[in-house]
């Protein structure tokens, strides 16, 4: 997995986080020094906005990094174009349903045919937790059994060649790498 590890992005996030802390500290210090009447001074406002924009950017990068790492963890043992393409469809479905990161992980293991105890062992959590995740997954996907859940993807696989992927997943921006 180290083959694709996004070290560039990690280092960029660390560096920008430092900058964000520095600028935020600076803005707060300036604000305290200026006191209330000058608090809304334009210079202060611009500085505060710039700092907030930087923090928002860092937040976005962290989300991207987490998505990248999740994808890599999922593809770890099955690198390849076909697996990658299928994974795109699967993650798109997961995102549409609004699955949490943990639910996405459990859902993928379920797709791979793993039983609840096996998933619990792999994730280092209790079987009850995995069952709760599965309940959430089925509810969000609008199905009520493992068979119906699998069928959703079988259908995709069978219809896929005819018409292209319905929604293209947003390509992961290669910021800083």
């Amino acid at each position: 997995m180290t083959r694709h590890a996004p070290y560039g992005l990690m280092i960029l996030i660390a560096a920008q986080l430092l900058c964000a802390v520095f600028f935020l500290g600076d803005v707060v210090a300036d604000g305290l020094e200026a006191g209330w009447p000058h608090f809304m001074d334009w210079h202060f406002g611009v500085e505060a906005l710039a700092a907030l924009a930087l923090i928002a950017g860092v937040g976005f990068e962290i989300r991207t990094l987490m998505a990248l790492l999740r994808r890599e963890a999922h593809l770890k043992e099955q690198l390849g174009l076909a697996a990658g393409a299928f994974h795109e469809i699967v993650t798109q479905r997961f995102a549409d349903w609004g699955l949490t990161p943990s639910e996405q992980d459990v859902a993928l293991f379920t797709l791979k045919g793993l039983a609840i105890p096996e998933i619990a062992t792999l994730r280092g959590s209790a079987e009850g937790t995995v069952k709760a995740h599965l309940g959430g997954i089925y509810r969000k996907a609008g199905v009520n059994s493992r068979g119906a859940f699998l069928a959703l993807f079988i259908e995709d696989l069978m219809t896929q060649p005819a018409d292209p992927v319905p929604h293209h997943p947003t390509p992961v921006s290669p910021t800083g790498t």
Binding site: M66, P101, T121, G124
Partner: protein, 179 residues
Amino acid sequence: MTHHRVWDPFIRVFHWSVVTLFFANAFVVDDDSKLHHYVGYAVAAALVLRLAWGLIGPTYARFAQFAPSPAGVTAQLSDMATGRKRAHLGHTPLGALMIFNLLLSLAGIALTGYLMTTDMFWGVAWPEDLHEALVTWTEISVVLHVVAVIWESRRTGVNLPRAMVTGIKDIPDGLQIEP
């Protein structure tokens, strides 16, 4: 639940005495007092002992045991991204980065603080500026360290603050254990 004795008495005494001494010098003791110097020397002495202990001490005290690797950091971040859990007996890779950061910053603070007292640098501005910058940096790091410890304790179910008091890590059953 399995119990693992990981932090030896020296590590624990070192940790909590550095916490106390740093807090005292940063927020309580007058910066220009003799006591500020003595507390600083105490921190420096503790750091020298920790350095030696990191080379000759028991397994989990050694720097070589917890030196972080890029692959280790990636693995820990991937665990966070997927919600998977693994327990580390020693420091986690990200935790280890913070340990090295804190040790180096504290050493920098002690060194610049000492330079201010020497004839050579008496009245020179940069040691004092650097000293203060490093203290601010360390304060930010300490906040981050505490937040990360609470976060990781909640994420993995291993009570890390208690381990630093008792020396024993209690790891819930079913959690894969990394060294």
